[in-house]
Amino acid sequence: MSKHLKHPYVTYSGDHNLFSSLQSGLTSALPQESVEWRRSFGRPTRCVHVDVDFVPYSEDLLTNINTIYQDVETYKANVRESLQTWLHQLKQHGRSDWMVILVETPDTKKTNKLLPRTTVLDKLKSDFGGKQTERCVSLIDPTKADSRSIESWQLLLSKMRHLIMVAYNRALNKFEEAMRSERERRTERNWSFCKYFLLQEELAQVFKMLSLYDESLVQYDELDALFTQFVLNSAAGGMNVFPLDIKISFFIKFSSFSTYNVKLDSPQWLTNFSRPCESWEGLSLAKSCDVKMQEKILSKSISLLEFRNYLFQCQASLLIQQNKPWELASRSLTFLQNTISELRILEATIMNGGIACWGFLSCLEVIQLLAKYKDPSTTDSHALHTAPLWAYARDKLKELGNLCGLMPGSKTSSEQLHVVISLVCGMGEDPHTDEHSQVNNTENVQMSPMSRIKEALSSQESFKKHFLDLSEVAISTYKHIGRIRSARLIGRDLALFYLKEGSLHQAANFLSDQLKTFVEEGWHLLSAHTQTELAKCYLETGDKERYIKTCVQLAACPVDSYKEIRVEMLNNMLEVSKNIEDEKTYSICTDRIFEIGWLKIASTDPIIMGSDVVVQLEIHSNLPVSITFDKLQMQLKQNEEKPKKAEKPSLLVHKGKSSDIERKSSSVSVASSHSSNRKHSTLSVRSSSEIGGESGHQKYSKVSSPSKQERDEEECGPKNPYLKRLNMSFHLDYKQDKSLSSVSVNCLNPHKVLRREDSLGGLDNIEKGIVKEDFSFSLATELIEVKPGKNVIELKTQVTKKGFLVGGQIVLTKDKMEFICNKSSIRGKPLLVEVISENPQIFLGRKERELLAGIPQPLILTINSGSSHIAKDTKVNLKCSRGLTLKLDAEGSLDEGKENERNTPLGFERDIEISLPEIKPFSQSILQLQALTELIPQKDASTIEHNVCITSELLEEKRLDVDIHFIPPFVASHKIHTANLRKYIQVN
């Protein structure tokens, strides 16, 4: 079982010529079918293909013996004897596996048929078989192609396979036994891991030979874990109980690793691994088994790095053979990191940059190997692992760049050149040189890791090229697997690279990408840090607008440790903003800088057209210092129609309107909704008959409005969805006899409340751009100081149109900067102002009695001021139609009455002018008049119609005609009666 040869040996003796005629057939036929391998220790049975080499019998080697005997009658004479000596020799060598093949020719068979039990086979069996008669097999001449001979050939093969397996098992058990006992000795002073490693590796090789790659891998994994554990233990120093790696505990099941709490100081052999590493060759996965390394292990002159490389190469090749490249991929990074930490623990000195070189080479080696195994269906599973590998390789290259002065902005000193040279030396030979030259022609040119690193280290330009290359691949691979944050992190690193290089625009792009992620997810420290860098970028590029925006954002960030920077940034920003030359103003979104807490109209009076509206707003400043703004405006938009109720959690100012409490009712239940007004919900349960009439429709009843303050608080609640109140109502169930059956509380709109919120959107979104809307009509105030924290500010404007005004954007202006707060960012209820404008109205009417003609009758002149204020001495002209005269009643307005009296003795005139008293808005003034109609001859009792024309500035149409009807007090009629010659006039 030497590991350098591929197959186990089976020796043969006896008739060599005869056997060699069988040999080729056996060698090719044996591995064609698998044989079941039953194993000890309860391990699962495996199907194995055996593959053997036959060699002539000699004294020293061998496990399995195979003899051939030509069948003749001479058997008894000499064959028996030589067989006996042969078996004896075997026994002396401690070999217990043997086999005798008897080759028969059909002719002999015939003769033997007559004499059963006396064939050579029977003889053999009885002489040597003992209990193992199956070890003697007869073979009918295989050169004949009849069914009998084929059958016997197959029988021979299967027996042979079986026996070889038995031999294997025996040998392996023995070997494992030895290995275990060797392992048990691991605490002894002179025990050497290297020796043990080779021992167990042999076992691994056997499994590998049997194509049991997974078993073989287990052996290597055990070795890996054991080594790791030794290293960890040596680091842990005096600890008694050593934590088992999971990996190991997993393998315990398999091999008896169980007692592992051993006292171990750093053992002697381990110090060998602490010796300085002089070379840092990368992994080379092309070769599976490196004899040179085995020799090095044997001579204990292997360095840690070499050892780890070797072990990983073995594992890798087994994984590849199992067709599990993804597992190889997933192990790679751990392997790299683990090895580096082991180097650190063992304090193996290695030249600066050596590890980086090794890491870089190994990473790319693995990636290239994986690329070979890539097929479309497995792209994803690879990318998941290659992405971190790319990133790792990139990091390592960066490390090298820093070390060798290849980063932009630094110059390579001669010392660093030396470093480069020695690093390149330490990498050894490129394992890909041959392969590379061949591949070159066929495939697209892919540089071997070694040539890549060499080129990268050769000059700054090529370093940059490779570095950017790697970065790009790493970022895109990360993006491909959906790890955006990881990609962004590399982007940030790349940005720093660009910053050093002076490519500020690229840097700014990457940084702002990253900033977006941080701001969206509310990682303040990270965003602040990114903003600081971004601000630098913008300052350098002279992008004042972005610079200002970034500074303000930074100044407003809630990170304690940045307090000083925040103030500094703000001052810088103000400085810059003063020196803006161009005409343009800079629009800055107020998100995260200022928050508008609430808005309300200051006055409770109705707002009349033409008057001033005063609106208070609470603004919360996140800036660290006070800033005086030139102007603060709030846009107002005209809204002709009253907004729908849904939008109306409003600051509606309207007399007599109070919030309604909805009362939903049905024939069996009465529910009161509107939880926010729970205090006020004076719920009255009405009898069902009464409610029944309403057929379950909604009914509104007015209940005194809840105190405004309270409502404000509720509706201005934070945006946090957790804090939304549930719209609960209680529900009464009645029995048929109208007695109460049950009371329950339920939620009216569970669908709405329990609806799944879109979790994709972050907390804060960066708005791309913000546009100032039309501010031709706005509430404004000037020179306002906004302190850090809460401020309450009053805004004012005159309203000139009637209708509904809706609050829109809010803008704070400072120099050329405009901080714009979008309507959607304003918390609390939106501002809604109703501007009222009602025209004054004048009515002329009578009192309850009908008017009589001919005598003074009272008339009433009513003036409604509407929304306007009527000044004193506003004139109203009344012009009557012919026959009607008017007089202002003295009681109504004494002064004017007198005045009028001067003109006519009776005071009745056809045309009078009345001066009104002062009338406040929404009030009315009543003036009493006297009307006197002339009595005109009338034949019937029809009413007398008169017309009064009222003219006044107050009236919209300037002129108002009022018809007044008078009833004649009496009707005179006459008739002429004729009696003969006499005429009589009858007057009624």
């Binding site: 990191q337 650190r344 990881s486 997810e521 509310g522 990682w523 907390l763």
Partner: protein, 125 residues
């Protein structure tokens, strides 16, 4: 002893961050933030499999050369991230798991506090 502990809300914004003193808090935060990537990946894989979703411990998210980053997520998508030193061999998988369990129960206590507004930053006394 862990190096850093972060509690992250549903919307991936940090609710609570604790860093061991004297550490580069910026770097640790970057690590924690990047860990979210892996958490999201693991959660979304979990959704595909209808199997047992009770296991809240996500195990090792990833490791850098200095730190190991472990993750845990509650059913309400609150994430815990613990960062430990790579060299710290005393913290094994089981210890980390226990740490997370403990953390989860502490977090539940915090949320149960009627004065705590869910989704707001948590401060430690």
């Amino acid at each position: 002893m862990a190096v850093s502990l972060t509690i992250i809300g549903k919307e991936n914004s940090p609710l609570y961050i604790w860093m061991d003193e004297g550490r580069d808090s910026l770097q640790l935060q970057y690590l924690a933030h990047t860990g979210l990537d892996v958490i999201q990946e693991k959660i979304s894989v979990g959704q595909k499999l209808p199997g047992d979703s009770r296991e809240l411990y996500l195990g090792l998210l990833y490791a850098s050369e200095e730190y190991k980053i472990y993750g845990y997520t509650t059913n309400s998508k609150i994430k815990f991230i613990v960062i430990t030193d790579v060299t710290n061999a005393a913290l094994r998988d089981n210890e980390i798991r226990m740490m997370f369990r403990h953390l989860h129960s502490i977090y539940s206590t915090v949320v149960c506090n009627p004065f705590y507004v869910p989704g707001e930053k948590i401060s430690s006394q």
